[in-house]
Each structure stands twice: as structure tokens, then as C-alpha cells.
């Protein structure tokens, strides 16, 4: 169990990632049943970035730490098995100093974002470092994001495209993705030179413009 000041319990939540923004410095804690056992997961956060993760088996006291723990929590979160999440304020630096093995390098909780949810997408585009998958009908893309910039792109379903072509194709289809598609945050992807993108900031700018357009349309009552 980690030290911290209890802030509250959240029951109705759509996304675990959204909860992370509610804690400035601290952690979120959630427990779930795993067969006959009960597990508790902790995700340590500082200013929106995930810095550590830990999963403990309540009965056997076995621990999974760091990236593996975050992967496990992501899995449970994706399968919607987290029913209540507790938020704690804590000295994250001190916790990590005492438990260096729970530190994570590429901190992200895998989640599904519906295509229409541009606010959540922009939050991911701004903070995520790692893979983002985009699914739309028969085509899927994988992007490597680096906090606001797309470093690499390729299609993983549909016509084979890499690098600038894949990103251009995605921008072309973005309207459809927003209507019927979805985004999925993932872990890390070791892309090749062929996959690299020249102007990777354009994707986030495009999404920001679309969100602005939607806001104006809504204000006009379209």
C-alpha cells in the first residue's frame, strides 16, 4: 500500500486517462477480481504524466511493477473491469525514490477513444508518447506520437502505406474517422526510416481546427 491523502472515489467514469488529469501529484488506485483473487493497481501521476505503476495481489502479496504493471492495469481498464477508482494526493518523487522498480518510462494507459471525442483525442495527442492506432472501416493506421508530433505513420489494415503517404491518407479520411471510427492508445512501436513523417505537427493542428469548426457549427445551430 502506498502513502497518500485520500481525495475521493470516482464511480461513474468513461476513461481512466481522464481521471489522471484530476490528480496533480499523486496516484489512482483501483482493485479488481482476478479469478479467486483480488488485485490492486496503482498508477502514479505527476502533472498528467504517468511515472510509475504497481499491481499487488491482495492475498498472495505478489507484485508486478513498472511497465508490466501498467500493461496489466491497461488491460483491466480496457475490459471495463474497473468499477470504482480512488484518487490520492501523494509525494510521487518520494514514493519513486523508495520504490525505484515501479518507475515507468513510457507511461500510457491503453484506451479506446471514439472518433467523435476530439477533446480526449487532443489530450492524448498532447501528452502521449508512443503508439496511437486509428481504426476506420477497412483501414487502420498506426502512428508514433511524441507529445503533439507524429514521428511515424503506416497503415496496418487496408492499402499498404508508410510515412508521409500514410499520414496524408489519414488526414484525407479524418472526417470519416470522426464519424464512425475510433482511436486506441497503445504502448511503444519501433518504427523504421520508411515510416518517418516530415511534418508531424500537422495532425494535431488538423484535429484542433476540426474541433474549432465543430464548435462554430454548434454555436450556429447547424
Amino acid at each position: 500500500m502506498l502513502p497518500g491523502k485520500f481525495l475521493g472515489v470516482v464511480i461513474d467514469f468513461d476513461s481512466t486517462r481522464e481521471l489522471l488529469t484530476k490528480i496533480k501529484k499523486g496516484y489512482l488506485k483501483a482493485s479488481w477480481r482476478d479469478g479467486d483473487s483480488l488485485k490492486t493497481g496503482y498508477v502514479l501521476v505527476s502533472d498528467g504524466a504517468i511515472l510509475g505503476a504497481l499491481v499487488e495481489d491482495v492475498l498472495s502479496r505478489e507484485r508486478i511493477e513498472g511497465e508490466n504493471a501498467l500493461r496489466k492495469i491497461s488491460e483491466v481498464s480496457l475490459s471495463k473491469r474497473l468499477k470504482a477508482v480512488e484518487l490520492y494526493e501523494a509525494d510521487v518523487t518520494e514514493i519513486l525514490r523508495e520504490n525505484p522498480s515501479i518507475r515507468v518510462e513510457s507511461g500510457v494507459i491503453s484506451e479506446d477513444i471514439p472518433g467523435w471525442d476530439l477533446d480526449s483525442l487532443l489530450l492524448v495527442l498532447t501528452t502521449h508518447r508512443g503508439e496511437l492506432r486509428v481504426h476506420n472501416g477497412g483501414t487502420s493506421w498506426r502512428l508514433y506520437l511524441d507529445r503533439g508530433v507524429v514521428r511515424a505513420a503506416q497503415t496496418i489494415r487496408g492499402p499498404t502505406q508508410k510515412g508521409n503517404d500514410a499520414l496524408k491518407n489519414l488526414l484525407w479520411e479524418i472526417g470519416k474517422v470522426m464519424k464512425d471510427g475510433r482511436f486506441e492508445t497503445g504502448g511503444s512501436w519501433e518504427f523504421t526510416k520508411e515510416d518517418t513523417v516530415d511534418n508531424g505537427g500537422i495532425f494535431k493542428e488538423g484535429v484542433e481546427l476540426l474541433r474549432e469548426k465543430r464548435r462554430i457549427d454548434n454555436a450556429k445551430g447547424f
Binding site: M1, F6, V9, I11, K29, A30, S31, W32, R33, L38, K39, T40, V58, L59, K83, A84, E86
Partner: protein
């Protein structure tokens, strides 16, 4: 929904089972680390004990409120606190459990249960 509460209490040394029980005796959620414990039966009995304690308190102290009910036997303890208007939170423990620690965790988690029900 109460996995966090159950996990918190089961992590305390000496706690063998946890149950959140409606005051009419239905198990809302519970878990025991010892498979010989039938949590559902315990839930029904705990509600009865708690109800009786309320009656006694009312009769003797003219106060229909009980902070905590503790049953001590040579083989273990059952400690129950109110968790909101319609439920109680109870733990089954070893005889030599750290009662002070259990009480702190019980009170803290009873508040969480009350806020969630």
C-alpha cells in the same frame, strides 16, 4: 464496486474475511481469504447481531445508534460498523489481530461505502 474497500481490509494482518451487508442481511459484496468461511451465511448472521445491538442500545441507552459491534470468541473476532443508512461493513479476524488498526481501517472504509451506496 467495493473491491477497493475489500482489498484494503484484507491487506490488514489477521483479517480473514470482509463483507458489506445490507441491514436486512443480504450480502452486497464480500471476500474471504479462508475458503472455509461462508461469507453469505456470515452476512445474514452479522445483520442479525447488528440489529440486536441496536435494540439493546435503544433499550438501555435510549439511543438507537451503535458505533461498533464486536464479537470475540477464542478462535476469532467479528467486528461490524455502520456503513451508511442501509448497510454495515464487517470483518472476520484472527483472535490476536491489532484491533486499533482494524478499527481505523473499518471506519475509513465504512465512509467510502456510505458515499458509494
Amino acid at each position: 464496486m467495493f473491491e477497493n474497500v475489500i482489498a484494503d481490509l484484507l491487506r490488514v494482518d489477521g483479517v480473514k474475511g470482509v463483507a458489506i451487508v445490507s441491514k436486512d442481511g443480504l450480502l452486497i459484496e464480500g471476500q474471504a481469504s479462508d475458503r472455509t468461511i461462508d461469507v453469505e451465511s456470515v452476512a445474514a448472521m452479522v445483520a442479525t447481531i447488528y440489529g440486536t445491538a441496536l435494540n439493546v442500545s435503544n433499550e438501555v441507552f435510549h439511543e438507537e445508534a451503535v458505533d461498533m459491534v464486536t464479537l470475540e470468541s477464542p478462535k476469532g473476532k467479528i467486528i461490524t460498523v455502520e456503513a451508511g443508512e442501509n448497510a454495515v461493513l464487517t470483518v472476520l479476524t484472527d483472535p490476536k489481530v491489532n484491533l486499533g488498526l482494524v478499527r481505523i481501517y473499518l471506519k475509513r472504509n465504512a465512509q467510502k461505502v456510505a458515499s458509494m451506496l
